[in-house]
Symmetry: C2
Subunit: 196 residues, 2 copies
DNA sequence: GTCTATATTCGGATAGAC
DNA sequence: GTCTATCCGAATATAGAC
């Protein structure tokens, strides 16, 4: 296969996934038909089935791609040789920026009830990015940066505020861009859990 | 209409709503058919349409009932003549207990993408119970109990941790009953926002 | 690999008896 | 108010030409 042909195939896949993200989040997965997808992406129904096998297949490809991206970002931050506090803050900053720049993608990760159309995927709390975030917090406790409390309580306390504010923004209930709130959010989160 | 007849009608409605809550949350709204509802509730398809008009009607009745309940609980707490801190703590305790005792109901309130099947309802962040919770926090700032920061940041910081932990529990990713974490959650939340 | 036209299933909603 | 039997539109998926 030539490089050009490969690009054209990538293009069909990408156009389909982009249309899927847009429509799934605007109207919901079940309110979006393959026909809608086909029209929006400018790709025929046959091609969609050729590449993804089923409607579920489209959703799965989208899900795994986005989760993989987020996981990679968290892993990258986790590898930095800095304090747990700085790592957690960087993750929070990344989440806010990501949500602001690609709201639909963030919405798909956070709000979509994947269980409803991707029963084989784990619930969001058990997905890799969120497992990694808890891991950061666990190390913070080990290092004595964070008080010695239940790791789940600590992790949800650190990131819960930011995630709720992101949800508000994605719901259209918040007018200010998320990154502007980073400092205030981080101060609240870290004061809550920091070791004395 | 006799009191007895009235009770029988209530019973059909209640059985339907109970079945709906169970099935909508177990399989999702779109994966549940009216037939499923009818069988589970022991009520005929015709009766369901007689009482609720449509499948959406069932979801709407469920939604408004549960939101009304939660709103009443928050209002009750808001009326108590105590500090904002105590009010917020009481709301947090209520949320944890509610999620533990009626997980499906809490799941429906928190996780269901109502927008997908109830487009006319406001997004969750703008629903009455959550508006009232922000109001509690706003008063806390006015009274000087909470630092003078953006009210949305303060509100999400106060309740975000608890809501994420509830989500974990509802996802089956947390083994311990939620109310056991109240003290730890509250300490984190309040330390984060409390005025010096 | 891409497309159009088509088949088949399924589920929301209704009619009308009791 | 409750029920059963039935309609009908819609949407996933496929067949088969190019």
């Amino acid at each position: 296969m030539t490089a050009l042909a490969h690009d054209r195939i990538q293009d069909t896949r990408d156009r389909t996934l982009e249309a899927a993200l847009e429509l799934f989040m605007a109207r919901g997965y079940f309110n979006t038909t393959i026909q809608d997808l086909s029209e929006r992406a400018g790709v025929s129904v046959g091609s969609i089935y050729h590449h993804f096998g089923s409607k579920t297949g489209v959703a799965r490809a989208l899900y795994q791609g986005l989760m993989g991206e987020l996981e990679a970002a968290v892993d990258d931050i986790a590898a930095r040789p800095v304090s747990s506090a700085e790592q957690c803050r960087a993750v929070m900053a990344h989440l806010l920026a990501f949500a602001e720049q690609r709201p639909r993608a963030m919405q798909f990760i956070l709000e979509a009830r994947h269980q409803e159309f991707l029963p084989e995927e784990p619930p969001m709390c058990s997905s890799q990015p969120f497992v990694r975030m808890r891991e950061l917090v666990r190390r913070g406790i080990e290092r004595g940066e964070i008080r010695d409390i239940d790791v789940n309580v600590a992790a949800t306390s650190v990131f819960g505020g930011a995630l709720r504010l992101i949800a508000m923004r994605l719901d259209g209930a918040l007018d200010t861009p998320l990154p502007e709130h980073l400092d205030a959010l981080w101060t609240c989160a870290w004061r809550g859990v920091a070791a004395p």
